[in-house]
């Protein structure tokens, strides 16, 4: 249980800004800062496990983007001839790498978002405007695991029954799969009649739906949001003046000895820190 209660909309504003910034700020120093901060945050939030599963796929995708981009795009001034007349440009190679890196940062931000904002928080925000959508989401969350469980049971039974039959091969496998699905669908339809009745019996659609979820806007939300907005505005101003973004095409205008020590970089850094600060503060209580 968390002791700092932050309104879900505060979180959403913050993370939307983070995810936008992951794409806008392509300067390697900014990107690295972003990566370090968000990895620290994920570690403190304690979700490395889920994260490890997700990132494997994304690293492969990242490598593919980094490889495919120079194969398909020939923009840029610096040509590197590989064999004969075939060339790639240095710029499109670097662009591919940066794009892949941005995507991974976005994924990181999303993972952290998932941990910070539960689906119930999201529902709370949705349910006021779209009550029908929110009830569909809740029901899906109930029934997808249930159907999954049922399909598992049916498959277990069918595997057992077909173990000794001599018929094997693809066509029979497909036949068995169709059989399993038939059973599951008829079973589920039968049960869903009762679900419908149970909803009707408990007054579904007799009035406009409300929600049991309840959030207050606290002082911390005001401070948090104003902090975020000030830091983000400063960073954007910096971006307009050319801080934090590098031009790749036609030639790269970046060298590693230009460390961006200015107010815009610091406001970018500050923007990344508040959640880490809050999480550490929470941890301190227990030690």
């Amino acid at each position: 249980m968390r002791m700092t209660k932050i309104h879900p909309s505060t979180y959403i504003i913050y993370y939307v800004i983070l995810i936008m910034f992951a794409f806008l700020f392509t300067n390697p120093y900014y990107s690295l800062t972003f990566a370090i901060c968000i990895i620290t945050l994920i570690r403190i939030q304690g979700i490395q496990k889920e994260f490890k599963g997700a990132i494997k796929g994304f690293i492969i995708m990242g490598i593919m983007i980094a490889v495919i981009n120079p194969l398909t795009s020939y923009q840029g001034a610096t040509r590197i001839y590989l064999w004969g007349n075939y060339f790639m440009t240095l710029e499109s190679m670097i662009y591919g790498v940066i794009l892949a890196f941005c995507l991974i940062l976005t994924l990181l931000a999303f993972t952290s978002f998932n941990k910070a904002v539960s689906y119930q928080d999201l529902l709370y925000l949705f349910s006021k405007k779209f009550p029908a959508v929110s009830i569909i989401i809740i029901m899906a969350l109930r029934f997808i695991p249930l159907l999954n469980h049922r399909l598992g049971e049916i498959n277990k039974l069918h595997d057992f029954e077909n173990e000794n039959s001599e018929k094997k091969g693809l066509i029979n496998k497909i036949k068995n799969l169709v059989d399993s699905l038939t059973v599951m669908i008829s079973w589920t339809l039968e049960e869903s009649m009762i679900t419908t009745k149970s909803m009707k019996a408990r007054g579904y659609k007799t009035a406009k739906r409300t929600s049991y979820l309840f959030y207050k806007i606290n002082r911390i939300d005001v401070i948090f949001t104003s902090f975020t907005i000030i830091a983000a505005t400063l960073s954007i101003i910096g971006l307009i003046y050319g801080n934090g973004r590098i031009n790749i095409y036609p030639t790269i205008n970046f060298s590693f000895d230009q460390f961006p020590l200015n107010i815009y970089y610091f406001s970018f850094l500050l923007l990344l820190l508040p959640l880490i600060y809050l999480e550490i503060k929470e941890e301190m209580v227990w030690h």
Binding site: Q120, L157, V183, E191, T195, R202, A207, R209, Y212, F214
Partner: protein
């Protein structure tokens, strides 16, 4: 003034009469039990009081609630004042977390957030469910699910609860807990309850009125004590009486002294009556405890399934079965009992081969065939008609073996129906026939008596016994102690991941004080190993 009143009410669906000429008055604070065989119209009767649930059909007469015709009730009033609980705990849950499920009806009627939270807080405190409030409903046990379903009706502050076999899917302990809550609601809050149920031993002491339904009309309707006398002579309804009353009735035939006493419906009343005639009753001593293993006249060759050091778990933290040593012998009728989550289903699935052990070995005698029957028989059906279900590969007509089985189970008339249109008992039988077509040596059943009415249960037991006599070995998991006591030859109790007790039912239940049949609870002081009515008849020569 009656809270609910049926006036000459009849109901027909697709020109088949389901209820005919029902006249009934339910006072506020009544706790009424409806009994009757499957298809006698209990569910239809209950759902006609709830206007949202009335199925399409023609009706005559009227039902009033607080003198207002049910049909004219305001939507919101019908939703809040009348609560309806269904049989299956799983299929009536709509949302994913407990708190959301309890809040669901309040959200539906558009109650402000603050009030919703007040009511949930009250419910959570009264029913002690605050520790499961944020759990996912899939993690709950059947009893907890049914309790959540009840809470989600009670937050609406209903005046009338309609319960359609609410405990038929629960194990005996969970169903007793559930009934205790109903009793509190009835006694402490005077909530009117109309409930249908098959197993009546627990319930009879709680209710004040019983109504026996058959073929859509009311056969008997009276206060609990008075109805036993009449129903005892009825061919169908004698199955719907508590064992305690049946024993009481037998005794009063022999000892005229008891004729003027009230008939007992609870163990407490029953034992009081026994004390009155204790001088006339013969008392037996308990026999020396027999050794549990080794007293079966079997050699190792008769072992059909055997397991050694069996371990099973889905996760490291929660090991379900530990080091289970088990053997099943030719011709046994073995049942496995144990609390909720003790691993009964897991064990029989391991023995059947549906699951693979994580450690240890299950060995099956070479060449034996095993058939497994799932808890819910519907999982076995995928064809349009029952006839198609029962055809073996490439057959176009049923073979003799199958027709014999159909005759034996008395379900020939169902061949052209769809399996979903049959009653629970019929589905169970057809699933068993389907399993028997392959001529198995061992038939494994997972809670075959769940949700069956007493008459079907009795018939099923007789049929299983005949099959056993013809050489079939039967292994089943069950919660139904009286069924086991009457028909099984051996019983195993699981506890703490292993086999705790392994003996014949008589030995087990006479040792137990709580986890035993109602008959044994009643006569323990006189006949320690009397666990079924037949034992008592024999010992006391009734």
């Amino acid at each position: 003034m009656a809270l609910v009143k049926f006036e000459n009410f009849s109901f027909a669906s697709s020109s088949k009469e389901i209820l005919s000429n029902i006249n009934l008055e339910v006072e506020e604070g009544d706790f009424i039990l409806f009994c009757g065989p499957s298809g006698s119209g209990k569910t239809t009767l209950l759902s006609n009081v709830k206007k949202e649930l009335v199925s399409p059909g023609e009706f005559e007469g009227k039902i009033t609630f607080n003198s207002i015709n049910i049909k004219n009730l305001d939507d919101k009033q019908s939703a809040t004042d009348i609560g309806f609980l269904f049989q299956n705990p799983d299929s009536q849950i709509v949302t994913d977390t407990v708190i959301q499920e309890i809040a669901f009806p309040l959200e539906n009627i558009g109650m402000p957030t603050e009030d919703i939270r007040n009511r949930i807080a009250e419910m959570a405190a009264f029913f002690c469910i605050d520790n499961i409030l944020y759990k996912n409903v899939n993690e709950l046990s059947g009893g907890q699910k049914q309790l959540v379903n009840l809470c989600s009706l009670l937050v609406l502050k209903p005046k009338l609860l309609l319960l359609d076999e609410p405990t038929s899917q629960l194990d005996p302990i969970a169903s007793y807990d559930f009934l205790t809550i109903l009793r509190r609601l009835n006694e402490e809050f005077s909530i009117t309850i109309m409930m249908s149920e098959h197993s009546v031993d627990n319930i009879f002491p709680f209710v004040n009125k019983v109504i026996f339904l058959n073929k859509g009309s009311i056969k008997y309707s009276n206060y609990t004590q008075n109805i036993v006398q009449k129903a005892m002579k009825d061919e169908i309804f004698k199955f719907y009486l508590p064992d305690v009353s049946k024993v009481n009735f037998l005794l009063s035939e022999k000892y005229p002294k008891l004729k003027n006493e009230k008939i007992a419906v609870s163990v407490r009343e029953g034992r009081k009556l026994l004390h009155k005639i204790s001088n006339d009753l013969k008392t037996f001593q308990k026999k020396e405890k027999k050794l549990s293993n080794g007293n079966y006249p079997f050699s190792d060759n008769d072992e059909l399934i055997k397991s050694n050091g069996l371990y099973f778990a889905y996760s490291k933290e929660n090991i379900i079965l530990k080091d289970v040593e088990f053997s099943l012998k030719q011709g046994e009728f073995l049942s496995i009992i144990g609390g909720n989550g003790a691993g009964k289903t897991t064990l029989i699935q391991l023995l059947a081969g549906l699951l693979k052990p994580i450690k240890g070995k299950v060995s099956r005698k070479k060449g034996i065939k095993i058939s497994y029957l799932y808890q819910n028989p519907l999982i076995h059906f995928s064809k349009e008609k029952i006839k198609q279900e029962l055809l073996l590969n490439n057959e176009t007509e049923l073979n003799n073996n199958v027709t014999d089985l159909l005759k034996f189970f008395n379900v020939e008339h169902l061949l052209d129906q769809n399996s979903y249109d049959c009653s629970g008992g019929e589905q169970q039988k057809i699933a068993i026939i389907k399993a028997l077509i392959k001529k198995p040596d061992v038939l494994i059943l997972d809670e075959p008596t769940k949700g069956l009415d007493p008459l079907s249960k009795y018939k099923l037991a007789k049929e299983l016994q005949t099959l056993q006599k013809n050489g079939l070995t039967i292994l089943m998991s069950s919660h139904d102690l009286s069924f086991i006591a009457n028909y099984c030859s051996r019983c195993i109790m699981l506890f703490d991941g292993g086999i705790q007790v392994d003996n014949n039912p008589k030995e087990i239940f006479s040792e137990n004080n709580f986890y035993t049949t109602f008959v044994n609870r009643l006569v323990k002081d006189y006949i320690p190993d009397g666990i079924i009515i037949d034992d008592i008849k024999e010992k006391w020569k009734l």
